[in-house]
Structure formats: structure tokens, C-alpha cells
Symmetry: C2
Amino acid sequence: MTLSANLAAAKAALAHLEIDDNPVSVRAKSRDFFWYSPVLKARLDHISADFVVAPKSEAELIEVLRVAYAHNIPVTTRGAGTGNYGQAMPLAGGIVLHTRHLSAVTAIHPGRVIVQPGCLLRDVDATCKAHSAQELRMFSSTWATATIGGFIAGGSGGVGSCTWGALRDLGNIIRLRVVTMEAEPRVLEFTGEELHRVSHAYGTNGIITELEMPLAPAYDWVEMFVTCETFPEAARIAADLGREDGILKKLITVFEAPIAQDYFQRVAPHLAPGQAVLGLMIAPHAMDGFLTFAARYPGAKVIYRSDAHDWPRDPGPVFEYGWNHTTLRALKVDPTITYLQVRYAAPDHLEKIEAIRAKLGGEVLQHLEVMKENGATMFAGLSLVKFTTEARLDEIVRIHEAMGCMVFNPHRYTLEEGGRQSVDDRQLAFKREADPKGLLNPGKMIAWDEPGFDYKNVYAYKGMKRP
Amino acid sequence: MTLSANLAAAKAALAHLEIDDNPVSVRAKSRDFFWYSPVLKARLDHISADFVVAPKSEAELIEVLRVAYAHNIPVTTRGAGTGNYGQAMPLAGGIVLHTRHLSAVTAIHPGRVIVQPGCLLRDVDATCKAHSAQELRMFSSTWATATIGGFIAGGSGGVGSCTWGALRDLGNIIRLRVVTMEAEPRVLEFTGEELHRVSHAYGTNGIITELEMPLAPAYDWVEMFVTCETFPEAARIAADLGREDGILKKLITVFEAPIAQDYFQRVAPHLAPGQAVLGLMIAPHAMDGFLTFAARYPGAKVIYRSDAHDWPRDPGPVFEYGWNHTTLRALKVDPTITYLQVRYAAPDHLEKIEAIRAKLGGEVLQHLEVMKENGATMFAGLSLVKFTTEARLDEIVRIHEAMGCMVFNPHRYTLEEGGRQSVDDRQLAFKREADPKGLLNPGKMIAWDEPGFDYKNVYAYKGMKRP
């Protein structure tokens, strides 16, 4: 690989830092879980950075940004690369800034933790639990491998959202410390309304170097699988359980048959054909309340609980069947599977889901996650889709939208297309201020590159490296 | 005082226990806060037990019940006597069973506490906080003086209900241990659906001797007063704050003007005429989120926060202005004040309250408490009423009901009239089993004494001691 003069100069200027320029590992560190999407797979598979830098301190990180700015080198920041939207992929090449060494838990207080972005979610929880029996309010199903910085920069919610709502909700992020991409990078502290400028921005307008997050008490959650004979009953139970204010829970997931039968190898032997499955995490002191609740639904049967079971093969954490791990498990068995993210809002969410099932059953399998939204419960659908063509996938999206179900399209690599298909003015305004050269994670914010884009077709970033 | 032969025999049989038969203190221990209601005051002021027994163990308590059963003596159980419905008052005389010595915190685990009924709410919290930074999910505003047994036997919710819902909701009581009133009292353990048989039953069908309650993390709650220029804005803020899933809170109270101006002596100097006031408890790590939320309401102004203020006179705990402490403070200033308990359910609760204000403004002042109910937020109204006559008070109740607002009438001493004006079959069935002679807190369960009662007029217990 020959580097451009600028790249070579930047690399030389950073030579005293930890640099990886081995093409095989650079390519590996330039990828995330974009391949969940056949659409993204077709477009991004060739993407690779020119080299990777892993700063060991905020000062080193600032140095990387200062040098990259001086030499006009794009910088794409990466945690563990477990995102699904290609958000950690350097479309225009340049530098991947790897946060692995910025992994310290800096301080723990009652109800909050201060932590660096490269700390694994699992390590945040382990440290907080050992310190004071606390844990993060919510995490992605990739808890064991994902970083907290990646979760905040690229995620929207997850395990815990059935109680606490989404990351964007007030109170679910306390403070973010962010470094800008300027001749002389600035270090800024964001709280309150300003958090939205940089959370879930894919690192397009600043690099998070410290996070202050709220904590909840850490309990030995009882993880369960519950079967129901029909999907509507399972969905009804999930919705009802979401509204039980006195039953403390961390996960309420619904799987339509045959998701669990076909894709959950250690669960399938315990299922009858056609059964819908609930995956749950309930606080131990709420188990009496939960079992009382469950007994009100004659069709519901607890087939597994993590604190008392005789399954010959331990299924592992139940949350590793939910959220996007459902898709991952399906993909491992059937490579033609992909997924959609659908918002089913109360009060008619159950009816909408049945209408979608009636229309798309067989091709689209329902996987629901209960979330709190504005004080009510709703479903985030991470529907499994049997992929045939991009055209058909787009049609399925349109069918959902025509039936009043908003889709957050995971087959797009831009913030806007994966979100509400509209510009986030706060993020754009801050990018103008913090990344005037447009070097941070280029190609991910349409509003920056092509403000007049009409969203009729897939956005194609013109600066993308050629295959 | 001359005792009947039965009473004298019972007293003699219990002579080795702690007995109080001093008429002055027996009368004091036969009263609760029934005098909040002029209606109850007129009917119950003369009530007094024959003597008081304070057992020092469950074994002694069983002995009291066994002896009372043998001699046909009514037994009314009492905590601290801070209830408002006359629920601890021995209408037919007999024995008051005082739980003051049954006050041990037996065990504390992550998320739950096991405690005896006579333990003060304040002491439960202090013990749990010292042990493992935990506290009760909810408590009455009489936290400093009330017992946990009285709260469960006579309360329905309180400070904390804006997050956790009501005591009757699944998960908010884990287990109750109950002794029956039979020739040989039995000791029963109730969980799940069976909890409803004995919780909020005023001790009419069994005596609670142990409680297992869920705990939440104990935080140094930031207590606040916030002013708004208008009541509808304050109510709107309260409703909106109740729906903020990421902002951890323990109290959201709204006071219409001039409640705070006229009745809150240490708050009034900081208020302008006509301002509505919010009383709040917010977790310290949620304060950033709360202040961001509050800034969205231009009219809202934080005038006091417990962690940073310059008020010359500390107002004390903000929760001691809410729930029924509002009524207490009003009564101290204006003895003609009484109150109603009104349920304003979503989604049109704000509109209903405005309709009531339009109709009854001046005579009825709005005091609202945010509660969770079936996953949504609602208001429990503890409206202040300027009392004139019983007839007018009844009319005010009817006006509320005609406008679609359910009233839990605090001017009644029976379970049914103070509740939903219907028999609780589970409580009645258990009383048949556990108190076959009808000796426990007689006169409080209409279904037991007069099953055909039509609720058209105030129930008058025929067995009540004459003045």
C-alpha cells in the first residue's frame, strides 16, 4: 500500500503512538457488524482505513486529531465495532481511531459512573457491581464485547429500556466530554439539551473521551424463557408486563415462532412447534410478583429460569437472545436472514403488529422488545426478514410505513437514513463548529455532504473509497 | 370503669403482658387522625378501648388473640395511629392491640427487607440505608411517626408511588405473615394474589406479624419547591415529569394557590400571590436531567432545593408537605378545612381537573400527587375542602362523581365506603375463615355486618359503643 503524501506525513507525525498498519488487521479494525445487512454488505465490504491509531490518553487522542486536521486525513472512531449500521467504518479511508486503551472507570458515585469510552460495557458493570452493587441502567445485547463509547455514539437503547426508556431520554446520559477536530482541538463538556449534539452521532462531530452515566442497583436478575401457544398472547403478556410498575424488570422480549425453534439451538429442544417465546430479566425480589402476574395467563409457561433449571446445556444470558443478538443467531443458521427496526407505538401497537403479520407473515418474523417511551410502553420491533432482493426489502419497508409503522432502516449507513430521515440540526450545527473540514467519520451525515438529498433512493456517499 | 365479666376475665388472663388501663392513655391509644374529617369527628370522638395490650413477641400476640377469642372480646390493632379513616379505632371497645414492641428489622437482602409491623417507616429506612444503601420503595408522608404495619394495613401508596405505583400493585408487597383470630390462632404466610386478602384490610381479618417488602436504592434525594404562575401549567409539568422515564423521582406534588401561601409557613415568604407550587424529590444523579426538563417550561422556577439553598428557616422534608401532610398543615391554620381523595385518571386528567376547578373553585383547592397506575401516570387528588355541612360535603362528592372522577371518601370509617363502595370478596371470604366470631376491628367491614347495605347514606355500625 502506498500512502498519499498527506497520509505518510500524518503517520510519521504519529509514529510515537500505537499504530497498526498491517493490512489484514487494519481491514478487520475497519469493519463493524454491517454485514447483518446484505445491502450494506454489498456497498461497504471493501472499506478499509489506511492505518489505525490507538491513543493511550486523551492527550494522545488530541494529538491524533491535531495531526489529522493538519494533514486533512479523515478520522473514524471505533469502539469494539459491534454496531450494525457501518457507523464505525471509514468510508473515505484515512485513520481509524481505536479507543481500546481509553478504558478506565474513573469514578463511581451513588447512582453514577464516570468512565472512558473504550471500556467494555461488561467491565463497567463488573467494576460498578464490585464497588457498590451498581450497574448501568441499560446496555446493548453485545454487552460482553461492546464499549460504552460505541453504545452511546451509535446505539439508542437496549436491555434496560423496558424500565428506563431510550438513551436519548433525559437522565439516561449525564455528561459527555468531547474533543473537537480543529487546528487546536478543544475539550468540551456537554450536559442537558446539549447532549443530543454528540450522542448517537457516530463520532461525526466530535470524539467522546469521557462519559458520566447513571447507574441502577445491580441485582442477580432472574433470566427466563416463557412459552405461549400463540404469538398474540405472548405480545399481550409483554405489553401487560411492561405496564406492571411494581415488577422490576430489565428485559421483555417476544419471539414469534419459529424464531426460537429454528435459531436458538439450546432453547429449541424445549419447545413445541408454533410456540411463541418470551425472554425476560426480572429482579429476584420481583419474582413473586412476576409469577403471580404470569399465573393470570393460563397459556404462559416458564420453561427456563436461570436461578433454577435442569437444562443439560446452559443457554447463557437470555439477553444474548434479544435485541440484535436475535438477528445474529438467525444469521448464523440462515445467511439469507436480515432485519428491520420498526417502531410500534401504543395504544394500538398490538393491532398494528397483527396487521403486519397478516400482510407479511412468513417473510417477516416478529421479534419485539418492550421499551418505555414518554411514560408509556411501546414495542421496538427488530423483525427478521427473509432477504430476497434490495427492491423487495425496500418494498417491505414501504409496506410498514404505509401501515403507520415507522422504520429505522438498518440497511443504510447514514445517520439520517437510519433514523427519522431528517436532518438533526443540532448535530449539523455542532459539526460545522467542531469539524469544519468535515474529516470526522465522513459520509455518515447526509446533511453535511448533500443538504438537498431527497431520501428517495439509498444515499451513496461520493467520497467513498473505490473497491 | 367497670369491666364486663368477659373483659375482666380476659384482662386477668393477660395480666402478665404489658397492659395499659389508664383511661386517659387508653383513650389516646384508641384514636387515630380521624379528626381530619369533621364527619368522623362527630361520630367517633367518644371511642375508647377498654384496655390496651402491647405484646412483645408474636407468641404474646397469639396469646392475646387466643384469650380475646375465648372471652369474645373485640381486638383492634394499632400501629402509630396516623391513619385518617378511623381504621385503628375500636368502635365496639374491647382491646387495642398495640404493635409498638414488634419493631425489629429481621433481615435485609438485596432488594428486600423483612420487618415486624410496629417498626416505624423511618426506622426501616434508617436500618436499610445503614446496612446496604437501600430504602423502602414508598412510604406515607407520616414516615417519621407511622409504622410499616399500619401503612400496609391501612394505606394505599404514597411518597414513591410516582415511580412504583400503589401498594396493591404486584411486586410492591412481597409477603405478609398473618395470625388469625380463632380458638387456636393460626400463623399464615401470604404471597402473590393472596396478599390482597389482608393488605389494606384494617386488621379486620388477621393480624400482620411480619412483612417482607421490596427495597429500592437509597439516594440523597434532592427535595425541591418549584413555582409556576398558573395552576394548569404546574399540573402539566407534573404530568409531563411523571412520564420522564429516565428521571428518577420519588415525589411529584402540585399545590394550587393559595395552599402554599396560606398553609406552608416556611414556604409562603418565598411566594408571590397566585403562584402554584410543585413539591418534588429527584435523585441527585437525575438533577441534570430534571433541570434540563424544567428549563423547557419558561414559567417554572426552582425556589428551593434541599442541597443548596439560602432560606433562613429550613422547611424540613418536602414530602412532609405532600400527601396527607398537606391537609394536616391546612388544618393547623384553618380548622374548617377538610379533604377528599379523588382519582383523576389519564388521558384526560388535566381537563377533568380544570372542569372541577371551574365548578368548585374557591371551595375546593387542588392538591395533586402523581402516581403510576397500570404503566401510565395519573393524579391522586387530595383536594382541600372548606367544610360547611355534611350535606354540602356529600354534594361535593356527588359533583365529582357526576363529572367522572372517582372519590375515595375519607369521611367514612368502613373499608367499603372509603374504597370503591363495593365488597372485596377476597377480604370477606378470609374474614369468614380467620375471624369467625367477627371480633377483629368490628364495624369496619360492612359486608360482614350488613351485606345488603345500599351505600345511599353513611353507614352507621350498630355495635358502636355509645357516647
